[in-house]
Amino acid sequence: MSRRLLLGVFGKEQDILGVTSAARKSGYKIVDVYAPYAVHGLDHAMGLGPSRLPRVCFALGLFGAAVKVWFEFWTTAQDWPINVGGKPWNSLPAFVPVTFEVMVLFAGLSTVFAFFYVSGLWPGKKAAIVDPHVTNDQFILVLEQSDAAFDISRVKRLFEAFNVLRIEERLAEEAR
């Protein structure tokens, strides 16, 4: 099913921030906001919840550390016991530096890959650029015309209150 979208193009950071929170407060469905750079406070204006990436980071960091401690124990104390400086075979202090490094590696890489996954990025992916201007000097708010109650003239008035540069209607062919 195709979706009917309404695009508002804005030229200033404070306008996109203002119009986004105004649109959200009026109950319009925000599909996405495009900006040439990371705009501080935009996530708040869009009503996005906190990122879930820290949980991936924590869980995989813990997993990496646990696996590494087990692996060092297995290599130096079980499978091929090695006497290093007369220390006990299972010497936890000696494992700590490498465990720390592996934890950082797991936590860091897993966060990056989880980010690629949730944002649908992979090699060879065609960039879905709503308008070339969002890579340069303009900001675009995309609303979905979700139901019959969606009153275009009211939305246009809202956009105009925030110095909209132009308004476009589009059909999105596929859901995503």
């Binding site: 501080h40 406070g41 906190p50 924590f58 400086g85 007369g86 202090p93 000696a94």
Partner: protein, 391 residues
């Protein structure tokens, strides 16, 4: 928001409470000097160094803001500026210890180390007049820098001249270099030489890591207190606390990193001169304290400060800061006291009394010092950035 607020006065109830703390502390100390001098002198060294360290950490905090052009902390800068008074208070405590009880340092006994010709430099370094002269130099240098930086900031309140900011940036850069070297040496002199046979080349860094973490914890507690009591109401935002929380998280972890560096290298090398330090602190009833130290200074703050919400909720952040300060006390206890207590740690009226006295004196001095200037640097060029600080 009204920046031109009336002079802030601590409520009479709180003033009375803290004065009672100070009186109790002084009474316990005087009685203790007669009844248990072997425990009161090291404890006095402990609280003096603790208080001094918070004051130094406050100057480091201010200096870091200046050299990095950090705007976010400007609105709360009067908190660390007032905390610089702790340097004087700590110096006074140290002076009492050094002048009245030099035998706290076993190397002051004449016979010490006489047969060991290899240690000629140590014998030269650890002579009492030289020790005192160094202490005077460290303390005077720190006090001079702290006063100059705080004074420039307060003079700026009058005319808003940006030259004060530039002057303080230069002073701050110089201070950070001088402080790095002097604190390193001072911690060798005052803490490490309590056990003159033992040495650890990372000790200065270890000493700094705990000092700065405890300083950030104290800044958090005082800032939140001032928000509750009035002067920083509507000025201290969640975003400031979030940044302070991140710093506390970072330096608590830095402490753990340095603590473990020292422990692991000594454990790995396994030389008797070095391991003695840890053997003393890990045997018998010392062991639980040894582990608790790591918990209070790192495990608890690390896990508690991981979620964003803890850093942005004043009541929670203050609780973590209190834990870090308790951890700092325990850390210093484990550095200073074992040589004097033998096989069993003890904690009683002497230690607790001095701790109370230090808390009371710090609070009274802080709120008194705060009254010297407006509660925010009103004409700092970065003030408006700091007041509207966002994460």
């Amino acid at each position: 928001m009204n920046l031109h607020q009336a002079e802030f006065n601590l409520s009479p109830e709180l003033t009375r409470l803290f004065s009672v703390f100070v009186l109790l502390g002084v009474a316990v100390m005087l009685v203790g000097l007669g009844m248990a001098p072997e425990r009161v002198w090291p404890s006095l060294l402990l609280v003096s160094y603790f208080v001094l360290g918070m004051g130094l950490a406050a100057v480091v905090f201010i200096a870091l803001q200046y050299v990095t052009n950090g705007a976010w902390g400007v609105a709360i800068r009067r908190v660390p500026e007032a905390m610089t008074v702790f340097i004087l208070a700590g110096a006074l405590g140290l002076a009492v210890v050094f002048l009245a009880h030099r035998s706290l340092y076993s190397w002051t006994a004449a016979a010490h180390d006489a047969g060991n010709t290899a240690a000629w430099f140590k014998r030269f370094w650890l002579t009492w007049p030289f020790f005192l002269a160094r202490a005077v130099v460290y303390l005077l240098v720190w006090i001079a820098f702290a006063r100059a930086i705080a004074r420039n900031s307060q003079l700026q309140d009058r005319d808003g001249d940006v030259a004060y900011t530039h002057r303080n940036a230069r002073l701050s850069a110089l201070f950070l270099v001088v402080f790095g070297i002097t604190l390193w040496l001072a911690s060798y002199d005052w803490l490490m030489s309590l056990e003159p046979e033992w040495f650890s080349t990372i000790f200065g860094m270890y000493s700094f890591s705990g000092l700065f973490a405890s300083g950030i914890a104290a800044i958090i507690i005082f800032a939140v207190a001032l928000q509750k009591l009035g002067p920083l109401e509507g000025i201290l935002r969640e975003d400031h606390l979030h940044d302070l929380g991140k710093l506390l998280f970072a330096f608590s972890t830095f402490w753990a990193y340095i603590w473990f560096c020292q422990y692991m290298l000594i454990w790995y090398t396994d030389i008797p001169e070095e391991t003695g330090y840890f053997v003393k602190r890990m045997q018998g009833t010392w062991r639980p304290l040894f582990l608790l130290n790591f918990m209070l200074n790192w495990t608890v703050p690390f896990l508690a400060l991981l979620p964003r919400a803890t850093k942005r909720t004043p009541s929670l952040l203050v609780k973590v800061a209190v834990i870090v300060l308790l951890g700092r006390w325990l850390d210093l206890y484990l550095i200073i006291l074992p040589p004097f207590m033998g096989h069993k740690p003890s904690f009683g009226a002497w230690e607790f009394g001095l701790m109370l006295g230090a808390i009371g004196a710090s609070a009274l001095l802080f709120f008194r010092a705060l009254r010297r200037a407006a509660p925010v640097p009103m004409r700092d060029p970065w003030l408006s950035d700091s007041l509207h600080h966002h994460q």
